[in-house]
Amino acid sequence: MSRFVLKRAAFLIPTFLGITLVVFMAMQMIPGDPILALLQDNYTEELAQQLRVKLGLDRPVPVQYVMWLKRLVTGDWGTSILSKRPVLEEILHRLPVTLELLVLALTAALVIAVPVGVISAIRPNTFLDYSAMTLTILGISLPEFFLGALLLLVFSLNLQWLPATSFVPISENLWQNLRHMLLPALTLGLPRAALIARLVRNSMLEVTRQDYIDAARAKGLSEFLVINKHALKNALIPTVTVVGLQIGYLIGGAIIVESLFALPGIGSFGIDAILQRDYPMVQAFAIVASSGFLLSNVLVDLVYTVLDPRIRLE
């Protein structure tokens, strides 16, 4: 792979360490004694002291961080206070649901956004363009939970086309699973689609002003080729950058959407853990979600190099 990707990947490790440091510090700053939370009713001074030594909580904070980091990397993520099961197991169990939701939402967003943006850009300032752009600004102003509530209201409660808050795993029945995932994916995807469509429109407008578009037309290429080959590929380059940033919003949105639709993913689980003060779960949730964002950015860089030979051949 190209130097560009390697260079970007080299940032992964320090950034990951930074993330773990922030999460670790956040956990340190939570008011209350973690030992108390762990022992709960069994609390005695003697037991507490034993546990402190066992967990290394009697050591200086930097040492604690290194020990904590070591456990994190080796997969020892502790035990959930609520379920009493290993945290890593719980996370892995719920990860597929969240990943499916994210992939479906992003796909829906792109499938809707790119054509809308392109059509708006090739017919700028027409009725079509104005309507599309009005819809998109509505879309970016809609909170996910309100959009989700509206979709639930219309498609589940009134029309009864789609199931409401229940879930069928993908391994059990793909069709039923997709029926359950449709509304959550749309809820998460539509606001992103709105934003991406505006961006595609703007970069298409920018690109179609370039000389090489005139040159492509002067060659006698069909308008279809000029727009969908020559202009679009260039317009997608800045779009990809923003889509990468949007994945951060997508992850945040997934937390809300999973809670709203009661999907058994990491997001809803994380929120439950927070509300019930299950801190081992909370820190795992924070690290998995932010690492996922980090990794998705590497993927975005890869897409970037596919689109832009100037970066690929750097």
Binding site: P143, F146, L157, I251, V282
Partner: protein, 291 residues
């Protein structure tokens, strides 16, 4: 701007503000956003006068009513007037939107100025910290800070300010660096003008345009985030009226009374929409190329 001399620069700035306002006035959608937002502001200020009932006033025997003349937005499960709650709810949204933005600007802008102006190690330290903060998904970071701080409206402000500080710092640093590249800065420095003068008369004003755009849009993001956090039960706590937490309570009752969800939700939509329209117009008016 770069080819203009230092003496005309002050005049340019004056005319730039006027020009921006003129351009903004021409954009009907932006002006619409501004008008709606001012109205919302007025509603928040005058909530005590406008609201027909108190936000937590439970009217006996009038639970879960559909909209009517008596209760234009109906009543909730406790018999509280939804219109009054929506009116009072605007206070939290606007409070969080403005206070978090102001905190972020007041801390983020100086950070960016210092990083960009002094460079070297200070810049390195600040920007690495900024990079790490930016590596978190925005909403996740807010949640994480809320876990540490505990749920309350004021803590939501703090959390969102922390989320936005690195964003302001980065923009300002970028502007400072590009301004320092300009020829007129060399002239200013060559003239031996004192550092703080350079700072306040030349660098700071030139960062204002991008800061204003991001600040206006960040109010919208903050209002959305407050609503989302409250929706998840981590923001404003009941019984304080907040659009997000009211919507959360309404979800389970949607089959019986969907209006309970529709009104607070629409209030969020209208507020954020007005800010986005204004912010978009502002961005186009300040610099059509700034995306």
């Amino acid at each position: 701007m770069s080819r203009k001399s230092k003496t005309t620069e002050e005049m340019d700035r004056q005319s730039m503000i006027r020009l921006t306002w003129r351009r903004l006035k021409r954009r009907k959608t932006a002006m619409g956003g501004l008008v709606v937002f001012i109205l919302l502001f007025a509603v928040a200020l005058l909530a005590d006068v406008i609201a027909p009932y108190g936000p937590n006033e439970m009217i006996p025997g009038e639970q879960l009513r559909a909209p009517s003349w008596r209760h234009p937005m109906g009543t909730d499960i406790l018999g509280r007037d939804v219109l009054s709650r929506v009116i009072y709810g605007s206070r939290i949204s606007i409070y969080v939107g403005f206070v978090s933005m102001l905190m972020a600007v007041l801390i983020g802008v100086p950070m960016g100025l210092v990083a960009g102006y002094y460079g070297k190690i200070i810049d390195q330290v600040i920007m690495r910290a900024v990079d790490i903060m930016l590596a978190f998904p925005i909403f996740l970071l807010a949640i994480l800070i809320m876990v540490v701080l505990g749920a309350s409206s004021t803590n939501v402000c703090v959390a969102l300010a922390i989320v936005y500080i690195p964003r302001f710092a980065r923009i300002v640093r970028g502007s400072v660096l590009s301004i320092r590249e300009n020829e007129y800065m060399e002239a200013v420095e060559a003239l031996g003008i004192r550092k703080w003068r350079v700072f306040f008369l030349h660098i700071l004003p030139n960062c204002l345009a991008p800061v204003m755009v991001v600040a206006s849009l960040s109010i919208g993001v903050a209002i959305l985030a407050e609503a989302s956090l409250s929706f998840l039960g981590m923001g404003t706590q009941p019984p304080t009226p907040s659009w997000g937490s009211d919507l959360r309570d309404a979800i389970g009752l949607m089959e019986i009374n969907p209006w309970l969800a529709i009104f607070p939700g629409s209030a969020i939509l209208v507020t954020v929409l007005s800010i986005n329209l204004l912010g978009d117009g502002l961005r186009d008016a300040i610099d059509p190329r700034l995306k």
